[in-house]
């Protein structure tokens, strides 16, 4: 089912949690709402679910106005961050709940309920746990129960509020891939809220970057990565450094560092974004920049460099890089950005974005 959010705002007292959001969720896609806490992403999800009513604006589901429709009539499956599994019911009864509470006319008989629940438990790989109580399950298992329970009522939309937020990193990654596969298999329109950019990048067909109650940018993971419309989007996707300077002769020059800006020769003040992968580092005795830290993760070496003004810059390189031979903590280093993103200062970021790339 497609969802359209039209000019939705939510105001609590003097706080505008959502400020005129317009959004389309396409049939069958997996859309991620990504943003820092307080950006309004959960509020938006709850408004789509009907757990919250918008102060202004409408929500359309399948082209019909659903703004005033009660949660239980919206045909949405909602999965909470802290599972919200019914603690006094075993796994089977949890999953069966949505079927058992149906009015008598539409309620399936016991054999049918049994069959459907078994099927769902198989889908979430919990067949052997039907008789277990929730407090005998791990966090990941509980979240899978919550998911099976939400799917039992055959919702037309699946809404997930930071579903993996309370799990440890490895389980999170595992469940993420599994959810992606399941969603493709079922073809169910899904909206997931997350503050983890990696999770969003991994999972989503499209991502909405939320910032202070509005949608900063909407696009596929690659679109956001390659063409961020604002310093906020660029910074939020991670592995980023942001600087401010003036473009002169096709470069922004800062002490101990140069950033090429092909495409712009002379300009006003700009914000420049450089990803840590795009930062070249080499030893240079006369540079004012100092290598402050060096850490290894697998094949990647992460470097932290302190600029003369005290700002810290992150860079990454392969462990096989020969440059590393000279690099010791405390060494003087020079920095050069091979690719940068320019954002004009105090101008409409979206219309005046310039990107430069130097091979």
């Amino acid at each position: 089912m497609s969802i359209r959010v039209a000019n939705v705002s939510k105001v609590w007292g003097s706080f505008r949690a959502l400020d005129g959001i317009d959004l389309d969720v396409r049939e069958g896609e997996l859309l991620a709402l990504l943003g820092p806490s307080g950006s309004g992403k959960t509020t938006l999800l709850r408004i789509i679910a009907g757990l919250e009513t918008p102060t202004e604006g409408r929500v359309f589901m399948h082209d019909t106005d659903a703004t005033d429709r009660h949660v239980r009539k919206r045909q949405v499956g909602f999965v909470f961050q802290h599972y919200a599994v019914f603690r006094h019911m075993n796994v089977f009864e949890n999953v069966a709940f949505g079927l058992r509470v149906r009015p008598r006319k539409t309620r399936p008989d016991n054999a049918e309920i049994e069959r459907r629940v078994r099927e769902l438990l198989e889908l979430v790989h919990l067949e052997a746990f039907a008789k277990r109580m929730p407090d005998q399950l791990s966090g990941g298992q509980r979240q899978r129960v919550a998911l099976a329970r939400a799917l039992a009522v055959e919702p037309r939309v699946l809404l997930l509020d930071e579903p993996f937020g309370a799990l440890d990193a490895r389980v999170r990654e595992e469940l993420r891939m599994w959810l992606r596969g399941l969603q493709r298999e079922l073809g169910i329109t899904t909206v997931i809220v997350t503050h983890d950019q990696e999770e969003a990048m991994d999972l989503a067909d499209r991502i909405v970057i939320m910032n202070a109650g509005h949608a900063e940018q909407v696009g596929t993971p690659w679109e956001l990565w390659d063409r961020p419309v604002s310093p906020f989007v660029f910074d939020f996707l991670g592995h980023s450094n942001l600087f401010e300077g003036v473009v002169e002769r096709g470069e922004v020059v800062l002490p101990g560092m140069q950033i090429r800006t092909d495409g712009i020769e002379w300009g006003s003040r700009v914000q420049v974004g450089v990803r840590s992968f795009d930062m070249k580092v080499w030893g240079e005795e006369t540079s004012p920049c100092v290598l402050k830290n060096l850490s290894t993760f697998g094949d990647i070496v992460k470097l932290l460099v302190r600029m003369p003004d005290g700002k810290e810059v992150s860079a990454q390189m392969s462990r096989r890089s020969t440059v590393l031979i000279d690099l010791k903590v405390g060494a003087r280093v020079h920095l050069e950005a091979v690719k940068s993103f320019l954002f004009p200062v105090a101008m409409d970021a979206a219309s005046a974005r310039v990107e430069s790339e130097v091979a």
Binding site: R72, F86, R87, H88, F97, R149
Partner: protein, 298 residues
Amino acid sequence: MTTHELALGQVFHLAGKTAREIRRVDWLRVGLIALTVLVMFVLLILPLAIVFVTAFRAGIGAYWSAISHPHVLAALKLTLIAVCISVPVNVLFGVAAAWLITRHNPPGRTVLLSLIDLPFTVSPVVSGLMFVLIFGSQSLFGGWLIEHGIRVVFAVPGIVLATVFVTFPFVARELIPVMEAAGPEEELAGVSLGAWGWKLLRRVTLPSVRWGLAYGIILCTARAIGEFGAVSVVSGHIRGRTNTIPLHIEVLFNEYQTAAAFAVASLLTLFAVVTLALKEGIVRRMENPIEPAERERD
């Protein structure tokens, strides 16, 4: 003496000192435990024993005739009526109040909470007097009721009202923190799965707070049975008609029928012990909410 030996000597010296200190602490511990046991014995066990010893002093036959006296049976019946009305009323009110306060964040929440606590803070005697003033023959309302043949004060309705009032906070007060801690998410999940109203209450809300509710009901029942002050003021002490068990015990005691008074008192004491045992069981369930299946596996 080399440095090494010196160091060793110091270690031994320290060790000896610690051992002495431990011995001294031991005496302190024994002393404190003895004191606690003594206080418990004098203040709790001894009185409890005296109740039963005095009750049975005149023999089983006397005990039996004391507790099967028509006035005692009438008092027992009245107490049961008061309990059977006040407990369900307060369960209904308590669940509604806890639900309103924890799930709907009503304006004036703090005022509401204080109001629920009011019966705790007001002396029971004052509560009783309050009902006498409202429903007594001197008041306009009470006068009107009496004219129409409805007696509240010095009759069963007054006793029930006073009991309901005094036991008012127990269920709500137990449920509010439990529901607060459980959070609204399970209920929201229930709603999103299509349950609402009565179905949601019966299948999600009540089961998730069942031990808190049971605890509240037990406290409420215990207080309803034992309530003396407020009931005493509104009862009028008409033997066989408006005396509850605690009131009847006082009457017997004042008439120097010590054995009979204690025989009836032993009924209340017995109930108190049962309550305590039930309460312990429930508290254990609340603190350690592992289901039986898990326990079997251990």
